[in-house]
């Protein structure tokens, strides 16, 4: 199948990109890495008259340190993020998560902004950014900027808070407190280049061997990246024990809202969530104890 027929725009600035998006509204799609949009166009899932390429906007690429954290430009390729020393120092679980995604060639094209903006339930970066307490920076057609907490960004499968003419410009991750750590665990049916059956990312902060704070997010087991709030709450104030993790895993499984599809049944996904949550918590605590976030 051909990609269909559309006009292609190469705005040089964010303002131009937003203006084009506002002008064409639902007729238009933004193009970042193309790894989602071109597949959708090719399969006929999507058809648009205008494509607005964000690739030639200079300020949108790259990882930089900002006050209180780091900022990842929306069109930074996933592979670049995974290799970034800033990312590895700030939140290694993000680099680890990206390494499990797709093939290298797709990681070289796909962007974090695209991974968010597409709002696909099994996207891997949103739950990680959520657990890190990350925020999504947006610019609207009128030039106004806003920041949305990562967990508030995706509303439903393939639906986000983005308004016509609004684009993601960056993902911001805060610096992590001392004695905290996170781990991303993902289960897929094959080792190389396969979508997740389920993923869980856990973050903990320790105080004197006890878990002072915990956050758990789950991917591919709900319409959006889901917070396992009860699972996380069950850990607060408790010592980091295998029993506590297993209980949290069971709670997370109950909080998951999986569907059955060709990658696994809903019941199996719940089983996997319990296992992944336990493993993620175990690894996150180790990381927190080691001082390596």
């Amino acid at each position: 199948m051909s990609l269909g027929n559309f006009n292609l725009h190469h705005p040089a600035t964010v303002a131009e990109a937003c203006a084009l998006g506002a002008r064409f509204g639902r007729q238009a799609a933004y193009l970042a890495g193309g790894t989602e949009l071109l597949v959708d166009l090719r399969s006929g899932r999507k058809s648009v008259a205008e494509v607005i390429s964000l690739g030639s906007i200079p300020g949108l690429k790259g990882v930089r340190a900002i006050a209180g954290g780091i900022e990842i430009g929306a069109t930074t390729p996933l592979a670049v993020i995974a290799e970034s020393p800033l990312v590895i120092a700030n939140f290694p679980a993000l680099a680890e998560g990206i390494a499990t995604m797709a093939g290298r060639q797709v990681r070289n094209l796909g962007t974090i902004g695209g991974n968010f903006s597409c709002g696909v339930p099994c996207s891997d970066t949103p739950p990680i950014v959520c657990v890190a307490g990350g925020r999504v920076a947006l610019v609207a057609a009128d030039g106004s900027e806003r920041e949305v907490a990562a967990e508030k960004f995706v509303l439903a499968p393939r639906v986000t808070v983005l308004q016509p003419g609004e684009i993601v410009t960056a993902i911001r991750l805060p610096n992590q407190p001392a004695h905290s750590g996170a781990s991303f665990q993902r289960f897929s049916l094959r080792r190389g280049s396969a979508l997740a059956v389920a993923s869980v990312v856990a973050w903990v902060r320790l105080e004197k061997k006890n878990i002072a704070e915990a956050r758990i997010y789950m991917g591919a087991v709900g319409p959006v990246a889901l917070a396992a709030t009860q699972a996380a709450a069950s850990l607060v104030g408790k010592p980091a024990t295998a029993e506590a993790f297993a209980k949290a895993g069971d709670l997370a499984a109950a909080e998951a809202q999986p569907i059955s599809d060709l990658r696994g049944s809903a019941d199996y996904r719940r089983d996997i969530v319990a296992v992944l949550a336990t493993r993620a918590l175990t690894a996150a605590v180790q990381r927190a104890e080691g001082g390596d976030r």
Partner: protein, 942 residues
């Protein structure tokens, strides 16, 4: 209408280009179509396969996911830009020397991805390579060699390339040959690592037009109305055809069951059944026009399960055809010996019901054909990615009433087949109609999704099998009843139904054997021939039951296999003539080398070791249609200066390495170095008929024909030399470019001098050879022909697995294979086939299944929903040849390409059971099924 074209400037392989491109044009299209750099391949168009990988500003990307107009100022490197100034990159040399390529279709992408890796990490280890190449699919399963080639690339820096074997690939046993038995590099290596190899979709003919075929949207229905007027009106559309415009006769594979039409006339039988086709100036226009064809169907009840299809009252898929009552396409009812007596004598009887899966061959190259009508003479030229060009020609001749001699079939290199490209398809058939209608050459291609829809993948089998065994492990009887899901048409399915039964008694001796097989029509895409044709699923059932019986009797799995193992010079209960057979030796070596006895006892829970055995025919004993033609034929011509020969043969190189093996056989028999042989690619005008690359027949059959042709030339030259050296012909031998007195090798003549003399006095020096299997193979009962072969391969595979007891995930940690493939002609291609068979078998056992929605459409007709193993999934593999000498094979050789797959499923299933106590009888063995089994186990014990 396209969006407005845009000017874009970039460099490709250092050369600057400024081009006007339509917005929707991908970088891949520009590279292939505008720049003619066809080394960048198209396998899926959606970033799943990695065949189109190029470097974009130093980073490996799938060029199908990049819009060309976004590449302003970019530096792009394609496979054609990797070699510099005629000198191959060390990485390319490493690929050649390690045999890290087979069909070659993934090779350009593999090399580009590897290049990105070594540019950032010059000394990658295996884990680095696995992380970098996980997005490059290789269906030949060449991964173990690719790992070695990439991690070891620096060894070839500054090294000149030669054809000498790498030390570690030297043959397994010493025999006295100078070419045969040595792991010389592949003949097609240099072309495949540079992107020069031409595949069918790479062909560009002047004035070429493009055709596309429309598939049915319903699984079963009557066509009430087709309106093509809107499609015809699209500018650029040259013709639209429907069922009324095609030959009004049926075609297929076996003459007894021709049941397919080029385009459906009144009835469609599966989602995708071809109903109309368009030819247009461009592929895009043809595609747009297809969407404007209006088809109105009267939907009929459909049936998707053979267990339902066989019942009275089920929807009839070929109604009114009395050949196919109750949807039974093929019925096999065999009984050898007396199974009732055998089961009565047994001390233990084990039985189970097994359900197979629907693996698809998924070659990375989609099927393509180019057809040109040669008006002046009423002749046709057809280029096709066909594994069996002879059958293609036969069918085109029959369908269009054109004599075979007026049809020229050319098989460019084939990017993997595994059975799916072994028959004539609507691509070639509609292509002929279009070529005649337009008077222009026509390109026909399947997309990845269309490949899945046309299918011809493995038959899903529903197997009830029972084995009786006496206390000492002797098999007393075996009985099976199998329903095969054939889909809507016959394809190769008659043969499949027979193979599913005939190959069971070849491995183990059994006197009492009963098989009832029913190949059923269903409203699904037709199943066909896939590597190990019909055998892997019954073999899985058998190998699992064998272990089960052994367990009940307290015997070791190896002991029961050895006890019943086939020996040489045996006629099986179903009349198959086993000639050479070192099966017992493969078992003995496997048991020893794997440390089986210790591991069986000592591995902890979650880890397991299992064994499975298998084998296959070395070529079918009879052709698909009745013919007295020799099955393989060869022509060798010596160059005028005597320093080269050309080998003309129409066997199809599909990755298995016949273009390397056959020159080796020719060189050995002629007595010249391998480097002096030119292969003349498969072309029915340039080379005599070969039945094709199916049923694992080429090494033995074409090898024999080549050897005979070479011997004919040698006989001529020895006569010349005898005169010159003044001795008797009988005392002369030829080897390494010399003809010499066998007892006094210093008395010698240059081979080329003898050849020049022969040419000077007698004109062209040529030799021809042919091969037909021994006559009257097999028994006299109905269907006795299927399973006959001049020779059989035997193998034992052992694997170690780790089962994650929490998720059910199976890691295959290690595989060993011990195969009796006769005497190995080339260890590199031999081990490459074994390793690839293991990896494909691993996919079938653990991952692969073509899934169907309730409406009969496919759920996963793509390479992200249908998962095949990646390099990251490939286990460590040890492959060993356990050589026999097969008297009917060239230099003692038999087959390896197919027999290496059937043992794999059982080995994995048995290892999983050993690891965690869960037996999976429904393929594939998914983590979910294992976890369910573990839960059941816990419930049972608590």
């Amino acid at each position: 209408m396209s969006g407005q074209a845009q000017l874009v400037s970039f460099t490709v392989n250092g050369r600057a280009h400024t081009l006007g491109v339509a917005p929707e044009t991908t970088l891949k299209q520009v590279i292939r179509e505008d720049l003619g750099l066809t080394g960048t391949k198209c396998g899926c168009d959606v970033g799943d396969c990695g065949a189109c990988t190029v470097l974009l500003n130093g980073r490996a990307v799938t060029s199908c996911l990049v819009l060309a107009a976004t590449c302003e100022g970019a530096e792009i490197v394609t496979i054609e830009g990797v070699a510099k100034g005629g000198e191959l990159h060390p990485l390319q040399k490493s690929f050649i020397k390690h045999g890290a390529l087979q069909c070659g279709f993934c090779t350009p992408g593999m090399i580009i991805s590897s290049l990105e890796l070594i540019n950032r990490n010059p000394a990658p280890d295996e884990a680095d390579v696995k992380a970098a190449l996980g997005g490059n699919l290789c269906r030949c399963g060449t991964y173990p060699r690719i790992l070695k080639a990439v991690t070891g690339w620096q060894e070839y820096e500054g090294q000149a390339l030669d054809t000498k074997p790498r030390e570690d690939d030297e043959r397994d046993q010493e025999r006295d040959h100078s070419v045969v038995g040595h792991g010389v590099t592949r003949y097609d290596g240099p072309d495949k690592v540079t992107g020069r190899t031409e595949y069918t979709a790479d062909i560009r003919l002047p004035d070429m037009v493009h055709g596309k075929i429309l598939g049915s949207t319903v699984a079963h229905g009557l066509i009430k109305r087709i309106d093509v007027s809107k499609a015809r009106a699209v500018p650029g559309v040259l013709a639209v055809i429907t069922g009324a415009d095609v030959p009004q006769k049926e075609y297929g594979v076996s003459p007894a069951r021709y049941d397919e039409r080029v385009l459906a006339l009144d009835r469609v039988r599966y989602v995708g059944d071809e109903v109309a086709a368009v030819v247009a100036e461009t592929e895009d226009i043809a595609e747009q026009a297809l969407k404007l064809i209006e088809v109105e169907y009267e939907e009929l009840p459909a049936v998707f399960d053979p267990r339902e299809a066989i019942k009275d009252g089920a929807p009839q898929i070929h109604p009114g055809d009395d050949r196919f009552e109750n949807n039974i396409n093929t019925r096999v009812e065999w009984h050898f010996g007396d199974v009732d007596k055998g089961f009565a004598e047994a001390d233990v009887v084990v039985a189970d019901t097994f359900v197979g899966n629907r693996p698809y061959q998924a070659p990375i190259e989609p099927h393509a054909a180019v057809v040109r009508w040669e008006h002046h003479a009423g002749k046709l030229t057809v280029w096709s990615s066909s594994m069996a060009p002879h059958y293609l020609r036969h069918m085109l001749s029959r369908m269009f009433d054109i004599p075979q001699g007026d049809i020229r079939t050319i098989t460019p290199c084939v990017g993997g087949g595994f059975g799916v490209k072994a028959e004539a398809t609507p691509l070639e058939l509609c292509g002929v109609i279009f070529a005649k209608l337009t008077g222009r050459p026509v390109m026909m291609k399947y997309s990845r999704e269309e490949m899945f829809r046309h299918f011809r993948g493995r038959h899903k089998q529903y197997i009830d099998m029972k084995i009786g065994m006496s206390k000492d492990g002797t098999i007393t009887a075996c009985q099976s009843r199998i329903l095969l899901d054939g889909g809507a048409y016959t394809s190769y399915g008659i043969v499949t139904a027979y193979y599913a039964g005939s190959m069971v008694p070849t491995l183990y001796k059994m006197d009492n054997y009963k098989y009832d097989g029913y190949r059923m029509y269903t409203n699904l895409p037709a199943s066909g021939a896939m590597r190990g044709h019909g055998v892997p699923q019954p073999r899985y059932a058998f190998e699992v039951l064998l272990d089960k019986a052994a367990e009940q009797l307290g015997l070791d799995p190896f002991d029961v296999r050895v006890k019943n193992a086939m020996g040489p010079d045996t006629v099986t209960c179903n009349g198959l003539d086993i000639s050479s057979c070192e099966f017992k030796a493969t078992l003995a070596q496997a048991r020893e080398a794997t440390g089986w006895d210790a591991k069986r006892k000592s591995l902890p829970k979650g880890k397991g070791i299992g064994v499975g055995c298998g084998g296959f025919v070395s070529g079918a004993g009879y052709p698909i249609y009745r013919s007295n033609f020799p099955h393989s034929n060869a022509l060798i011509r010596v160059s005028e200066d005597g320093l080269a020969v050309s080998l003309h043969i129409a066997a199809a190189e599909i990755g298995q390495g016949c273009n390397t093996i056959l020159p080796q056989i020719a060189a050995e028999e002629l007595g010249i170095p391998y480097e002096r042989v030119w292969m003349v690619e498969s072309d029915s005008v340039l080379g005599p008929t070969d039945l094709g690359s199916y049923s694992s027949r080429v090494t033995l059959m074409a090898g024999n024909a080549v050897r005979m042709a070479a011997a004919a030339i040698k006989a001529q030259l020895l006569k010349v030399a005898a005169v010159k050296l003044g001795c008797d012909v009988g005392n002369l031998a030829a080897r390494d470019g010399f003809i010499f007195v066998a007892q006094h090798p210093q008395v010698r003549l240059d081979w080329d001098e003898a050849a020049r003399d022969a040419f000077s006095t007698g004109g062209p020096v040529t030799g021809t050879g042919h091969y037909s299997p021994p006559p009257n193979l097999g028994g006299k009962y109905k269907g006795a022909a299927v399973g006959t072969s001049p020779a059989y391969s035997f193998s034992t595979a052992v694997c170690e697995v780790t089962v994650d007891l929490e998720t059910g995930y199976v890691s295959v940690d290690r595989f060993w294979d011990f195969s009796d493939a006769g005497t190995v002609i080339n260890p590199v291609t031999f081990h490459g086939q074994v390793e690839g068979g293991i990896i494909m078998g691993l996919g079938e056992a653990l991952l692969e299944d073509t899934l169907v929605r309730p409406d009969g459409s496919l759920l996963n007709p793509d390479l992200h929903g249908y998962l095949i193993p990646t390099i990251a999934d490939a286990p460590a593999i040890t492959s060993r040849a356990v050589e026999s000498y097969e008297p009917r094979g060239p230099f003692g050789a038999k087959e390896i390409g197919e027999g290496c797959l059937p043992p794999i499923l059982g080995a994995i299933g048995n290892a999983v059971y050993h690891a965690c106590g869960v037996r999976i009888t429904e393929l594939p063995i998914t983590p979910e099924k294992i976890l369910a089994g573990l839960k059941k186990q816990r419930e049972a014990t608590s």
